[in-house]
C-alpha cells in the first residue's frame, strides 16, 4: 500500500475537507493542517494594507521541489502517513487560503505538527513560487529571504 502524497500547484480553490479526507487512512488518528491566507491588515512593520496577492509559479520545478519537501518529511518523520502540499496561484483576495500543508499519522506524537511546520518553512525556501503584492503604493514582487545552497 502506498502512502498518499498530494502535491499540487493549482488555480482552484483549496478544498481543506477534500484534502483531509484524502490523507486519512484507516490507520490515521491525527492530522495537522497548516493553511496560509492573504492577510489584509499587517501590523508588523512596515504596517500596511493589502488589496490582493498574485502568485506565479515555475510549475514543473515547483512540483519537483514539492516532491523533495515531501521526501524530506518522510525521511525525518518516517511514521507520517499522508502528506498534502498545495500552493494556489493566480490573483487571490484577502482572507483567501493560499497554501496548505497537511500531515497525517496514527497518533499526534508521531510528528504531524513538526512535519507540517517543516513543510511550510521548507516550501518557503525552495519551491519556485513568487507573490506579487498590491497595495496603496502600487504592485511589487515580494523577494524571499532564502538563497538555496548547492545540493538543495
Amino acid at each position: 500500500m502506498s502512502l498518499p502524497t498530494i502535491l499540487s500547484i493549482t488555480e482552484a480553490e483549496i478544498d481543506l475537507n477534500d484534502l483531509l479526507a484524502r490523507i486519512t487512512l484507516p490507520t490515521t488518528g491525527a492530522a495537522a493542517i497548516f493553511t496560509g491566507m492573504v492577510r489584509e491588515v499587517t501590523s508588523r512593520e512596515p504596517a500596511h494594507e493589502t488589496l490582493f496577492l498574485e502568485y506565479e509559479a515555475y510549475k514543473p520545478m515547483a512540483e519537483a521541489k514539492m516532491q523533495q519537501v515531501a521526501d524530506e518529511i518522510r525521511k525525518r518523520w518516517p511514521v507520517v502517513e499522508g502528506i498534502a502540499i498545495v500552493q494556489r496561484v493566480g490573483r487571490l483576495e484577502p482572507q483567501t487560503p493560499t497554501v496548505l500543508i497537511a500531515c497525517s499519522a496514527a497518533h499526534r506524537e508521531d510528528g504531524v505538527f513538526d512535519a507540517a511546520r517543516y513543510g511550510i518553512d521548507r516550501l518557503k525556501e525552495i519551491v519556485p513560487v513568487w507573490k506579487k503584492e498590491a497595495g496603496a503604493g502600487g504592485e511589487w514582487w515580494v523577494e524571499g529571504a532564502y538563497v538555496p545552497k548547492p545540493g538543495e
Binding site: E56, M61, A62, I120, L123, K124, P128, W141, E143, P150
Partner: protein
C-alpha cells in the same frame, strides 16, 4: 554552439518584458557567463541579475555550472511562495 532556453519569473519577467528567450551560446558557457552576457544585452536586468537565483533543468545551479546542451535555464528572485 548551444541553443538554450532562458525563462524569467517575477521581477525578472517584469523587467525583461518577456517570459522566455531562446539563445545560442558557447558550449562552455557557465551560469556566471550567462549572467554577464544578459547584463550586457539587457541592462534593465542588471540589478536583478546580481542577486538572481538560477536553475538549470529544474535544479538549482550556481556560478561555475556549465550550461548543458539545450538546457532550460530559469532566472528568478529568491522564492516567496506560501
Amino acid at each position: 554552439m548551444n541553443k538554450i532556453k532562458v525563462l524569467f519569473f517575477a521581477t525578472l519577467r517584469q523587467r525583461a518584458g518577456m517570459k522566455a528567450l531562446e539563445l545560442d551560446v558557447p558550449d562552455d558557457l557557465d551560469v556566471q557567463g550567462l549572467r554577464s552576457q544578459l547584463s550586457r544585452d539587457y541592462p534593465e536586468l542588471r540589478e536583478s541579475l546580481k542577486t538572481v537565483v538560477v536553475a538549470i533543468n529544474r535544479e538549482f545551479a550556481f556560478d561555475e555550472a556549465v550550461i548543458p546542451a539545450n538546457g532550460e535555464v530559469a532566472l528568478f528572485p529568491p522564492v516567496s511562495g506560501g
